[in-house]
């Protein structure tokens, strides 16, 4: 099979008649009269895929923890698991895995029965590169990256995530997306209607 | 008399541009911040303290040639207007004129004066 590597150079007549110009311009004029393929952002938003690496969150204790890892770590770190609160076991593995460890500020609090709970968990996202190493390091599937991608804020204080914010993000994500099948896009029909040339024939999955 | 319109347009445009320039100064905020007026150089400290230095630009001969061709075209404007009255005489005249100057253009071409003059030391 002969592969076309590049276009043959134009001959003299084609050069003086600007054939290459005309070829390019016919493409652009064709595009100008087709339908637009964008979403109107502030009014219409696409849902990011489930594995999207957005803002961080803390998953809460709700019975879906990875077993037996969660029980082992709770045992080892002497943690008091509280339903509806963060799963964090204060193991500092995320801080160890982070390329910029100063980003994390983690502390635990001793309870009266000798067990511990997480009391401080601050993440300074001004320093974060969203590489996801901390998420990989988390042994109890607590720290995760949510689908929140609109990260702009009016002050630098807003870009520091504290424990309440992390838990709120985690709760809302668990409500919305915990049971979703793990796949690239969730709104394939809408997306394919938008990108008409996208010939990907993805299999239909019913979102239970 | 015909130029009154031109002069009035000139005056109006001068006034308008001064107004547009000064409107920013009137309407805009005025905050002092240390690095606001720092010259732009990709956000890093300046390599040189000023940009007003000698600078190699490759078209200085083209500038000189432009002058000569501009004078040439200044002669051709009156010729173009009266060409039909002059007949064959005017044609031969200007043909010779352009021939001699085309020789100059060819000379420049052969001497590579029409090319971009690269800075030989820096290459």
């Amino acid at each position: 099979m002969i592969k076309k590597v590049f276009e043959k150079p134009l001959n003299f007549l084609e050069t003086i008649l600007f054939l290459d110009f005309i070829k390019g311009m016919s493409i652009t004029i064709k595009q100008a009269f087709t339908k637009t393929i964008t979403t109107h952002y502030p009014y219409e938003k696409l849902t990011p895929p489930k594995r999207f690496r957005g803002f961080f969150g803390h998953k809460t204790v709700n019975g879906l923890e990875p077993q037996p890892a969660f029980d082992e770590w709770v045992e080892r770190m002497k943690i008091e698991p509280r339903p509806g609160q963060s799963r964090c076991v204060v193991c500092y593995l995320c801080k160890k895995a982070c390329p910029v460890p100063d980003l994390f500020e983690i502390d635990g609090q001793k309870l009266e029965n000798g067990k511990k709970v997480v009391s401080v968990f601050n993440m300074n996202l001004m320093l974060c590169t969203f590489c996801g190493l901390c998420v990989d390091a988390c042994p109890v599937d607590c720290l995760f990256q949510s689908d929140i991608h609109e990260t702009a804020s009016f002050s630098r204080k807003d870009s520091i995530l504290n424990l309440e914010k992390l838990e709120a993000i985690g709760k809302s994500w668990q409500d919305r997306r915990e049971h979703e099948p793990d796949r690239i896009w969730i709104d394939d029909d809408a997306r394919q209607a938008l990108w008409r040339e996208n010939k990907l024939n993805l299999k239909k999955v019913d979102n239970a | 008399m015909a130029y009154i319109g031109l002069l009035s347009l000139l005056a109006v445009m001068l006034g308008l541009s001064v107004v547009l320039i000064s409107l920013n100064w009137l309407l805009g905020p005025k905050k002092k911040e240390p690095y606001k007026t720092y010259p732009y150089e990709c956000g890093v400290p300046l390599y040189d303290d000023t940009a007003q230095t000698t600078f190699h630009q490759g078209y200085y001969i083209l500038g000189l040639l432009l002058l000569l061709f501009d004078i040439e075209v200044a002669y051709l404007f009156p010729w173009a207007v009266v060409y039909n009255y002059l007949g064959i005489f005017g044609f031969i005249e200007v043909f010779l004129f352009l021939l001699i100057l085309t020789f100059g253009l060819v000379y420049a071409w052969k001497k590579e004066a029409l090319d971009w003059q690269f800075d030989l030391e820096s290459l």
Partner: protein
């Protein structure tokens, strides 16, 4: 009447700009004053009715000064210039009497009433034909020899510009 007002207006502008040329110390300002002076001079041409000459002056000199200006921006050693603040205004002033002689001459000519247009021939011609037509016909019939010589002159200057401007590697080996 209107023409006279325009003449005095442009004349005074050109004198002011000329003074600016000799007194400014920054080469950029010198060039800008020169531009102003030449535009004012083309205004004088317009007010005298020599429209073609004025327009060509505007076109040629504007371009010429633009080239000059670019060369100044790129070739003047600004650092040295800023260090060396002294400007030879004194020498400029000593030249003034000699320039004043020219003005005296112009004044005498004006008093004695020398006129180059006898019987207003040119005015009657320009009424019937445009400015460009008159110049064209005169230039390409009466003065065609001078016109052809112009081309040779331009050729010589072109060759000169190339020889002076272009640095060839093996010129004097």
């Amino acid at each position: 009447m209107l023409n006279q007002i325009a003449f005095y207006l442009f004349g005074s502008i050109s004198i002011i700009c000329g003074l600016g040329v000799v007194s400014a110390s920054n080469p950029i300002y010198v060039v800008l004053w020169l531009l102003g002076a030449l535009i004012a001079i083309s205004g004088i041409f317009f007010s005298a009715g020599a429209e073609l000459l004025g327009a060509l002056q505007l076109m040629v000199y504007v371009v010429a000064i633009a080239v000059f200006y670019i060369l100044i921006i790129t070739a003047v050693p600004w650092r040295k210039l800023h260090k060396n603040e002294q400007h030879n205004r004194l020498i400029g002033v000593t030249v003034l009497p000699f320039i004043a002689l020219l003005y005296v001459e112009a004044f005498i000519v004006g008093i004695s009433g020398v006129s180059i247009t006898k019987n207003k021939i040119i005015e009657t011609i320009t009424k019937n034909y445009g400015n460009a037509e008159v110049i064209g016909i005169k230039l390409f019939s009466t003065y065609f020899w001078a016109f052809e010589l112009m081309s040779v002159l331009l050729l010589i200057s072109m060759i000169g510009a190339i020889l002076l401007g272009r640095k060839e590697e093996k010129t004097y080996d």
